[in-house]
Symmetry: C2
Subunit: 112 residues, 2 copies
């Protein structure tokens, strides 16, 4: 039961997207992830907690370090939801809906 609210919300922050982009290159520890940002370590820890809560990353503990990586489940959930819109766009594009609407931008009397 992935939480789409949490996932999209997590993705709405540029710092968190940057973290994910970094993780797309491979695993990284909290310190490594924090390094590029002008932000304190606790702030990054919180961002990671948000990402983890959203199911977008997972962490394991390896001694003192906590390496993070992308989590398939959350990303898949988001991706699948979006697939719906993607398909709808493709459909609407095929149909002449848009063309018709563009052709008569005026007109359009009441129907009810």
């Amino acid at each position: 039961m992935p939480n789409l609210d949490a996932a999209f919300s997590a993705l709405s922050d540029p710092t968190r997207r940057a973290i994910l982009a970094r993780l797309a290159l491979g695993e990284a520890t909290v310190m490594e992830l924090a390094e590029p940002f002008a932000m304190t370590q606790p702030a990054i820890s919180r961002h990671l907690k948000v990402l983890e809560g959203a199911g977008l990353i997972t962490r394991r503990v390896e001694g003192t370090r906590h390496p993070c990586r992308l989590a398939k489940s959350g990303i898949d959930a988001v991706d699948q939801w979006l697939a719906m819109l993607r398909k709808a766009l493709a459909r609407n594009y095929d149909r002449l809906d848009q063309v018709l609407a563009e052709m008569k931008p005026k007109k359009g009397k009441k129907v009810r």
Copy 2:
């Protein structure tokens, strides 16, 4: 220059996702979009404004009504950003990264 912050943020609300899902079936007016929700009309108007500001929908004016439809630009932007994560996941899946990590859940002494 689509604003990913705004787009993902807009997508993080369940009411707005439901609105988009409805629009995936085709154009709809504000009233039609508001109908399924236990929420006042101004609330829906705001949600639509958020979606429009995020580039996820467009509106045209047709007399008194303002029919909304999905906007390709914003949806594409979100989709493209996500494609990056999707690809990263696929890559990491092919590589034995995960397998290796799973194989030695303990161990892992300092490297530095």
